[in-house]
C-alpha cells in the first residue's frame, strides 16, 4: 500500500522520472483532466489507490463520482462500464487480477468485444479494461497468470502490455482515446512498487505532457544481429539482462518488445528474423495454443526458409504457477532459461 500527498504534475513540458505505476496514473490523470467522459471503476481503486497503485492519488483529485470503488462484482461493474461506453462515456474498468476473468468473461468477450460488430459498426465501446498480470512474487496459481493469449485469442479487443514507464503512459493515453475496447495488462513486476522485487527498468524518465504510443507497434528494445528474442512485459527485462550478458561473448541478441498482442506487429517480427535467421519467443503465458505459437507461425506462414534453426519457445510449460519460489522460478521464463534457449538456437 502506498499513500500519496504529492500533486500529479500536469500542463508542463520536459520530462521527469517515474515508476511504471506512476506513469500509468499520470496518463489517466491527464486524460481525466482533458476529457470529462473518462472515469475509473473497480475494486480498491479509490481510497486504496489500486492494489498495485494503478490509481494512486486520483480519488483526492477527482472524487468518488469519477474514481469509483465497486463491490466484488466484476460482472456488474464491467457491464456498467460497457453500458456507459455505448452511451458515450470513456470508462476504465479494473479487473484486479487477470486470473479473475473467469467470473466476468461473458461481459468481456460476448459483450464488450462484440457489440461493435453485432451492431454493424453503429455502436462503439470506447472503454479500457485494465488488469494486473504475472507471477514471480509467490502469489501462486490463482494470482500469477498472464492470460493475455486468451484475451488476444478472442476477437474484438485490442490487447496492450507495457513493459516500462514510457510505454505504460503512452499506451494508456492511446487506449483511453481509442474507440475500440482495449485490454491493458500490466505486470506487477514492472510497476516499480517498493514492496516488490527491485527492477531498475521500472523507473525511468517520461515526458511530462500527454503523448500516445501507437497501439500495434513493437519496439526494438535492443539491437543485435545473431538472434531475435520476441517477448513482452516483464520478460523484456529478463531478455535485456541476457542480451547484456551475451554481448560480452560477442553474441548479438535483438530484443523485440511486442507492446501489443492485438494488433500484433508481424512486420517487426519478420524484419528482425529476416536479419538474424534465429528466433526465440519468450512468453510468461502458457506455452500451448498461445502467443509463442502465433509468433512462430508468423514466420512459417511467410517464409519458413528465413529460419536457420528451429524456433525455441520459453514459456510456462502449461502447469498452474506453483507457490514455492524454486518451483515458481522453474516454470517462469527466467533469465537462465532464456539464455539456454538463445544458446540452443545458435548452437553456441
Amino acid at each position: 500500500m502506498t499513500l500519496t500527498e504529492a500533486p500529479v504534475t500536469a500542463g508542463q513540458t520536459g520530462s521527469h522520472r517515474l515508476s511504471t505505476a506512476k506513469a500509468m496514473v499520470e496518463a489517466i490523470d491527464l486524460e481525466m483532466e482533458r476529457d470529462p467522459s473518462v472515469f475509473y471503476l473497480g475494486e480498491d481503486v479509490g481510497k486504496y489507490g489500486g492494489i498495485f497503485s494503478s490509481t494512486l492519488g486520483l480519488l483526492d483529485k477527482y472524487g468518488p463520482s469519477r474514481i469509483i470503488d465497486t463491490p466484488i462484482s466484476e460482472t456488474g461493474f464491467i457491464g456498467l462500464a460497457i453500458g456507459a461506453a455505448t452511451e458515450g462515456m470513456r470508462p476504465i474498468a479494473e479487473l484486479m487480477f487477470a486470473d479473475f476473468m473467469g467470473v466476468c468473461l461473458d461481459q468481456i468477450y460476448n459483450h464488450m468485444a462484440k457489440i461493435h460488430f453485432e451492431s454493424g459498426g453503429n455502436v462503439k465501446v470506447p472503454m479500457v479494461l485494465t488488469t494486473a498480470v504475472g507471477g514471480g512474487y509467490g502469489d501462486a496459481a490463482q494470482h500469477s497468470q498472464c492470460l493475455w493469449g486468451t484475451f488476444a485469442h478472442l476477437p474484438g479487443m485490442k490487447v496492450v502490455v507495457p513493459s516500462n514507464p514510457f510505454d505504460a503512459k503512452g499506451l494508456m493515453t492511446a487506449a483511453i482515446r481509442d474507440d475500440n475496447p482495449v485490454v491493458y495488462m500490466f505486470h506487477k513486476g514492472v510497476m516499480g512498487l517498493p514492496w516488490m522485487a527491485k527492477n531498475p527498468r521500472s523507473i525511468a524518465d517520461v515526458p511530462i505532457e500527454a503523448y500516445e504510443v501507437p497501439i500495434g507497434e513493437a519496439r526494438v528494445a535492443n539491437e543485435g544481429d545473431d538472434v531475435t528474442v520476441v517477448t513482452l512485459s516483464l520478460s523484456v527485462h529478463h531478455a535485456l539482462d541476457v542480451a547484456e550478458k551475451l554481448a560480452g561473448e560477442g553474441i548479438g541478441v535483438e530484443v523485440i518488445d511486442l507492446r501489443s498482442l492485438v494488433p500484433l506487429d508481424r512486420e517487426a517480427i519478420l524484419r528482425s528474423v529476416g536479419k538474424t535467421g534465429h528466433l526465440v519467443v519468450v512468453d510468461e503465458d502458457y506455452l500451448s495454443f498461445g502467443l509463442s505459437g502465433e509468433v512462430a507461425a508468423t514466420i512459417t506462414d511467410h517464409d519458413p526458409s528465413m529460419l536457420r534453426a528451429p524456433v525455441a519457445r520459453v514459456a510456462n510449460p502449461g502447469i498452474p504457477v506453483p507457490y514455492a519460489r524454486s518451483l515458481e522460478y522453474a516454470v517462469l521464463p527466467r533469465p537462465d532459461r532464456i539464455e539456454a534457449a538463445v544458446r540452443k538456437v545458435l548452437g553456441a
Binding site: 500500500m1 502506498t2 499513500l3 500519496t4 500527498e5 504529492a6 500533486p7 504534475t9 521527469h16 522520472r17 517515474l18 515508476s19 506512476k22 516499480g192 512498487l193 517498493p194 514492496w195 527491485k198 523507473i203
Partner: protein, 77 residues
C-alpha cells in the same frame, strides 16, 4: 537549507526503521517545491516524499538503505 526527513509511518513505534525504496531525482538535481523526490517504506506501507522547498537536492542515503523514521535523508539548498 531545508532538511528532507524520512516520514513517521509507524506512529506508535517512532524508533521503527524503514527503507528508501526509490529516488526519483539524482543527487545535485534542481527541484521544485512539491516535486516527487522519493518513495519510502516501513514494513510494507509505502509513502511518497516530496520536496518541502525548491532548490538543489543533496541525497544523503542510497536506495535500499535502512534508516530510522525521522532521519534526514536529503537536504535542499
Amino acid at each position: 537549507m531545508t532538511d528532507v526527513v524520512f516520514p513517521t509511518l509507524a506512529k506508535e513505534r517512532p524508533e521503527a526503521e524503514g527503507v528508501v525504496s526509490t529516488w526519483f531525482v539524482d543527487d545535485g538535481a534542481t527541484v521544485a517545491a512539491g516535486q516527487l523526490l522519493a518513495e519510502v517504506m516501513v514494513d510494507k506501507a509505502a509513502v511518497e516524499v516530496s520536496a518541502p522547498a525548491a532548490g538543489v537536492v543533496h541525497l544523503l542515503v542510497a536506495e535500499e538503505d535502512t534508516v530510522t523514521q525521522g532521519a534526514v535523508i536529503a537536504r535542499i539548498t
